[in-house]
Symmetry: C2
Subunit: 365 residues, 2 copies
């Protein structure tokens, strides 16, 4: 039994949950090591207080499950079998008449809920999602190693993209070049839709890359991340093409100051709110408060947005092993948009920065 | 009330369903004309036998809903409001104590199901999905016009991609060039992950584009589609780079013969099974039956895979207005992979072909 399953089972015992049945690719992967996007087919992981857990997957995936090192039971069903009948048999050997069953209420659909309800007609169904979010929030050494690799590739992508900047090139041209460069390094999936925004287009926190051409005097914003071994990175850098004006510089310097202060404030014992407010105060005092309309950052891992949420209302206390983004931004319509984002991990000494591309304003000519 | 809503309401009356509450972006769009991907927020459309339908959306989308021409009630909720309270009020004015409510059981999650169940504590919940699939299967003039536009762009993409073929270029290089060319034409979304496969890599129905380089004598397979105004196209063409050998030609000719015969067999009154088997027989008689491991095709519309399913066990009778793909393929490991796919619409006279790129083997040098 791996440590992660043990943590889940400890919670099940505390909460008197006899069975947990998870169906999201992310949580099944987190607990079993096996990742698959089964589309409309069923993927599932059943966990018990005492009995051996089992994994349910389409027949053709059985060998992949074994290869990932899952040594416990696998229910591999063919397209003509009903997986719920097989699940029922395997459960019957482990528990009878469960009174409390945990599922993912935000993920499981009604069709499957009706199936699992019929297996446990007397059970109360509770959500396992909050517990999984909390468990996934603290990263272990193995996870950190992969996230660091994903961050290094994000650094490379920004460096490559910035070097491609040239008068008259469009945002989409640079974006295509960046993604192709990553593919050549073996990257097959981005964490989210890559952003390359220039000039006025960057001055909106929800801009979309298009056919806007890069011009001298523009600030160019890159926001991107890669998925490596199922873990995400997420970086933002804003660079200058040619000489920028005093207003642009002032905005850049304010964001940078806020970002550095939030990194400095990130350490065990501080709260998410304190870190968010550290950055927010600097931006407000410089007169740009209304132009920083989003939270400071978000946790990062198997999902590109997970716990902890770095916002001014979150009193959660930071602990070693938490990984999150620090990404203040200022967006003044028709003037400039600047965001600077690092991924960091909390260590005993404070924040270790995982994204390394320089943060002093880089000027390309 | 639009025609599509009228059709749904007719079904509700027949089936004694008092309320239908839909939450998938596709079905809400089909019935209301409004498309949105609300992520974790709630989007919904409530339909009644007698009362006015209403649409539920995040507050910031209200104006977009009006712009699409939705003239009935809109419940636009802010991030601090509970949409279910607002829904409850609007429902109370229309029905009380519903005994049968239709939802999308494959789409709705348990969290929302618990909310809607509490609004209708005595109701039986049934699935609306099958009915929506059947309604969406017959396309109207407006839908066909958009699908034709999406098909024309798919033709363009294959033509552009084939013209980019050059000794030593990788699959991913060609793929990137094709997608960038489409972006310049205003295409912002592909129907699915674009496939460019060459040589042995094309000889698997589940190949993934990578760093394989195109060589003289290769067959190069393009499988792609674009989304225009929410409707999908889907085309496959296999072209030759330089001279190909007799075996490759024989496989190509067999697939083409099967494809043409299936187009010919497509007309009102024929069944899906008959059309699939028309192609399958030709491939089997040529000795390649075991190398054609998938169904002949699938319906196409707002989703890239919808009804009708063109498979040998489907006895559904074809009718005017149905749109589907015809895409036989032969994949002989280490020898060749060929697939030829058109999108067609059933008319009174038979199949009208919507994808126009030539199907005789095109040779590039």
């Amino acid at each position: 039994m791996n440590k992660r399953l043990e943590n889940l089972i400890a919670w099940m015992k505390e909460s008197d949950v006899q069975v947990t049945f998870l169906t999201s690719s992310e949580n099944v992967f987190y607990l079993s090591g096996f990742y698959s996007d089964p589309h409309e087919r069923l993927l599932g992981l059943a966990v018990f207080q005492e009995g051996e857990p089992f994994l349910v997957c389409p027949g053709m995936e059985k060998h992949s499950v074994r290869r990932t090192g899952w040594s416990q039971e696998i229910i591999a069903y063919s397209d003509i079998e009903d997986p719920w009948e097989l699940i029922n048999k395997s459960i019957a050997g482990r528990v009878s008449g469960a009174s409390k069953v945990a599922i993912e209420k935000e993920h499981m659909n009604v069709e499957r809920y009706e199936k699992i309800s019929s297996l446990f007609p007397k059970a109360e169904f509770v959500s396992a999602e909050e517990k999984l979010r909390v468990l996934r929030m603290i990263k272990d050494e193995k996870e950190l190693k992969i996230i660091k690799e994903a961050c290094a590739l994000a650094d490379y992508a920004v460096e490559f993209g910035a070097s491609e900047i040239k008068e008259g090139k469009t945002e989409l041209e640079i974006l295509s070049a960046v993604e192709f460069a990553l593919k050549k390094k073996g990257v097959t999936e981005m964490s989210f839709a890559t952003m390359v925004l220039t000039g006025a287009n960057a001055a909106s926190p929800h801009g979309t890359p298009g056919l806007t051409k890069i011009q001298k005097g523009d600030l160019v914003l890159f926001d991107l991340g890669v998925v490596i071994d199922r873990y995400c990175s997420d970086i933002t850098r804003t660079v200058a093409y040619g000489d920028v004006n005093e207003k642009q510089k002032e905005i850049y310097d304010t964001v940078l100051k806020a970002q550095l202060a939030a990194v400095e404030a990130s350490k065990p014992g501080a709260t998410c709110a304190e870190v968010d407010l550290t950055a927010r105060r600097i931006i407000s005092e410089a007169g740009y408060g209304e132009y920083f309309p989003h939270r400071l950052g978000h946790g990062l891992g198997i999902s590109v947005h997970e716990y902890p949420s770095m916002m001014e209302t979150n009193t959660l206390v930071l602990r070693e092993g938490m990984v999150y983004t620090i990404e203040p931004g200022i967006y003044v319509p028709d003037v400039a948009g600047v965001r600077i984002e690092d991924d960091i991990v909390i260590t005993a000494n404070g924040a270790e920065i995982l994204t390394k591309f320089p943060k002093e304003l880089q000027v390309y000519r």
